[in-house]
Each structure stands twice: as C-alpha cells, then as structure tokens.
C-alpha cells in the first residue's frame, strides 16, 4: 500500500493543480493577515472559507483523480497487489497531498506573522486539524461515488450535488424545520441533525474552541449546554473520525466486489 501511496502522491505533487491550490491558500493567508492585522480574527474568517472550500476541493480532486487514474488502476489490478491496498493507497495519496497543500499554504503565512508567540496557536491548529479531517472525509466520499458510478459525468454530478447538499441545502432544510416545528422541543433533533453533517460538525467544533458559540446561535448553544466545552470538542472530533472511517471502510468493501 505504501508504494501505491508513494506513486499517487508523487503523481499529484507533479500536477499543476496542487500548486494552484497551495498558491491559493498562501495568498488567502497573507491577504487575511494583511487586512485583519489580528491573528484570532483571521482565524475566524479562515474558518468560514475552509469549511466551504475544503470539502469542495476534496470532492472534486477525489472524483477527478479516481477517473483519471483508471488506466493506472487497471494496470495495478493485474499485479500481485491487494485490491484494498490499491484503492486505499490512491485515496491516501490524494487526501494527504491536499492536506499538505492546506497545512503549508496556511501555515507559512501564519508562522511568518508570528503564530508561535500568539495565543491563537491552538485555535489555528484546531482549524488545520478540522481542515485535514474535512479533506479526508470528502475525498473518501468522492471515491465512494466514483466507485459506484462508471459514468464520469454522473459521478461528477453526484459528487458536486453531495457537496452542495452538505454545504448549503442541509443548513437550509435544517433552519426550515426549526421554524416549522418551533413549538416542539428541538434540542435532541438539533444535536442529531448536526452530527449527520460533517461540515456543520466542523463549524461547531471550531466555534466551541473559539468560545464564541453564542454567535452560532441555537446549535452551538445546545452543543455547549449538552457537552460542556471540552467534552463537546472530544465528541465532535470523535464523530468526525467516524465520518472518515465509515467511507474509507466502504471503499475497501466496494473495491473488493467490483469487476474491472
């Protein structure tokens, strides 16, 4: 598996898009710090960008890489290599190269600005951890979609729809249901609904850490009230981990049964 990971990783590192992605984060980091002049404020702005953008990039890169490396995969399938190693190796290759772009792209400007002397270092690290988690989650989801769809166009559409649903539509439906059922006690419903969306979950995770959950309104308040800050952090992180494990496990399961 490590060899496959190595080849996928190098393949992506040589691709132009990885650099575009890296350059975007570098630019974003520098511009934010230049405009804000305040590390912790920059962290909040970054959160809003990361939470929407990272899943989108993870989804697109995941689907694109799977379809583009079809020939490579077929070649590998005739070699004495386990199927799970081939697919998990490729998945990790994509996800880790994206994580690297994220960490380097945002890390460099913040470190240069004096992150290590600042109190925002933990908030910033958590932001990067969440970004990494979201990358792992959405790349895995994208691989799942691609494995189930031979048709490229279909696979792409489903992947984009998934992102759109979790990033935008889900929240809309959620709010709508809160308004419609406002006369009922909605605490538990809110909690459960949040857990089923990794994007919401990440947002809460960061807001709890920044201790500005009041800003988030209802969901954050409930989360805070139910778990208390540190327990809330841990359980949110745990749920995110589960969001990584389940799709990855399904990649393995589906790859085992597929014909090539």
């Amino acid at each position: 598996m490590l060899k496959i990971l190595k080849y996928s990783f190098y393949d992506l590192i040589r691709s132009r898009w990885s650099y575009v992605y890296l350059a975007f984060y570098l630019l974003l980091g520098f511009v934010l710090l230049f405009l804000n002049n305040d590390l912790s404020k920059a962290v909040i702005t970054l959160m809003n960008v990361i939470i929407i953008l990272v899943p989108l990039i993870g989804t697109i890169f995941g689907v694109m890489y799977y379809y583009n490396s079809k020939e490579f995969t077929e070649l590998l399938l005739a070699q004495p290599i386990k199927r799970s190693s081939i697919f998990i190796g490729q998945y990790l290759g994509v996800a880790l190269s994206l994580v690297m772009s994220l960490v380097l792209g945002l890390g460099i400007p913040f470190v240069l600005y004096g992150l290590f002397e600042s109190s925002a270092i933990w908030d910033f690290s958590l932001l990067l951890v969440t970004g990494a988690m979201l990358t792992l989650i959405f790349t895995a989801l994208a691989f799942n979609i691609a494995l189930y769809n031979e048709n490229k166009i279909k696979g792409f559409s489903y992947a984009i729809l998934l992102w759109l649903f979790l990033a935008v539509i889900y929240d809309g439906l959620f709010l709508l249901s809160l308004i419609i059922f406002e006369t009922y006690p909605l605490d538990k419903f809110t909690l459960i609904a949040t857990v089923f969306n990794p994007i919401d979950l990440s947002r809460i995770l960061i807001l709890l850490k920044l201790d500005i959950s009041a800003l988030l309104g209802y969901t954050g308040a409930i989360f805070n009230q139910f778990f208390g800050t540190s327990l809330g952090l841990m359980s949110a992180l745990g749920m995110l981990t589960l969001w990584v494990i389940l799709p990855v496990w399904n990649i393995k399961r589906k790859a085992q049964k597929k014909d090539f």
Binding site: K3, K70, E74, L76, L77, P80, R83, F260
Partner: protein, 235 residues
C-alpha cells in the same frame, strides 16, 4: 496448471459465462477462441481475479485463488487494450511496475527486441497504438512467471513485431511455461498453439488439438472449421 470449475458470471442480466469447466495442463500454448462477446476476456479476467465470478472456483497449481490476489506473482498478463497512465514516460512505467512487483526483470532484452529504445523517455499518451502495444508486451514478458496470459497480443503490431512476438512466445514455451492466448487471427493461432479451447454461449464447446477440430468439422482450414461451428450453431 490452471483448473476452472463451474464458473458463472453475468453483468446485470447479461449472462456471459454459464458453467465453464476447464483444465489446462502445464506446459504448452493454449488458444482460447470464440466469437465476439463469448466471454474470453471475462474468463481470463476471472483467472486473474480482476472479475469476481458469481459461482465457481479457480485453482492455480492446485491452490484455489485467493481474493487478495497475491497469487498473481506467478502470472504475467497482457491486457487487450493497452491503457497506461498518460503522464508517465515509458522508462518510468517499466521502473514502477518492477518496483511494485519487487522481482527481477529482463526488460532490456525486450526493449531491444521491439526497438523501443527511442521511445523510452516519451510520454505514454504520445505513443501510437502499435508502440503502446509493444510497451504492453514488454511489461507482460519481462517477468519470468510460469504462466503467461495474452489477450489479443497481435493487435496493432507491424509484421516485424509480429515475427518477434511469435519468436518470443516460442522461446517462453521452450522454457516450459503455460501460455494462454486469445486471438481472432486464425493463421496466428494455427501457427503457435498446441491446443484450442472454443468458448460458445458461455460454455466450453470444444477442447482439443487443431487436428481434432478439423476432423470434427470436416474442414481442412482452421478458419473455415471455426466458421462451420458458428454457422451450425446459428442455424
């Protein structure tokens, strides 16, 4: 030795293999023939574990094939369509496959044989179909495995490369290897193969030497003998 027991495979509602039983002894060249869509490639891919059959077992050297695919270290495979990652160079690709397989390979000799030296640093996406097929052949023959499976090895080859391929196959046979070949070029099959396996409607219709097939159909020419089987079955 390869043994197939009661192999079934369907894609959706389309039944491709409906109970294939086949025993291929050690040493020799076996041609798998059959009309388009008769399941030749599906059978080969089942042996390789690339296709997961619904039912049936496959044994290689008496051992049932394991889904982890590690038994493929004893198999060399030439895919029908030479699909390669386009952003790699020929040399890089060969090096990568060698690294992944982790065994010795004699690629130099094969590169010389097929005259691939000028293409070594070219990207695979820029190669012509025939040249890609030559790269494909190098990848399939460079490891010294006891079983070689060739799916349409002649496609896109020029006459010189074709002669070289025949010589190469004969050389591997002399080493005592088992070679499975599919091809639609009957003269090629007639020239190289020891035995023929004929697939029809998802089953083995005939297995034996070319001589036996001629006697069975009453045709002298292999091409006509095959055509005879096909028209008889359609009539």
């Amino acid at each position: 030795m390869i043994k197939i027991e009661n192999l079934h495979k369907k894609y959706g509602k389309n039944k491709i293999l409906t109970g294939v039983d086949l025993e291929i002894p050690e040493k020799g060249i076996f041609a798998i023939l059959g009309p388009n869509g008769s399941g030749k490639t599906t059978m080969i891919k089942s042996i390789l574990g690339m296709v997961v059959p619904e039912k049936g077992k496959i044994f290689i050297d008496g051992k049932a094939t394991h889904p982890n695919g590690l038994y493929r270290k004893d198999l060399d495979y030439l895919p029908q369509i030479a699909n390669f990652p386009g952003n790699l160079g020929v040399k890089e690709l060969i090096k990568m496959i060698k690294d992944l397989r982790g065994t010795k390979a004699n690629e130099e000799e094969l590169i010389q044989l097929f005259g691939l030296t000028p293409y070594l640093d070219k990207k695979l996406s820029n190669l012509s179909g025939g040249t890609k097929q030559k790269v494909n052949l190098v990848l399939a023959f460079m490891f010294d495995s006891p079983i070689i499976i060739l799916d349409e090895p002649t496609s896109g080859l020029d006459p010189v490369a074709m002669l070289n391929l025949k010589r190469l196959i004969a050389k591997e046979k002399a080493k005592g290897k088992t070679i499975l070949v599919t091809s639609h070029i009957m003269s090629f099959v007639e020239e190289i193969s020891d035995e023929i396996v004929f697939l029809l409607e998802g089953k083995i219709y005939f297995k034996g030497t070319i001589q036996e097939l001629r006697e069975k159909t009453g045709e002298v020419d292999l091409e006509h003998a095959i055509a005879n089987i096909l028209t008889e079955n359609n009539a």
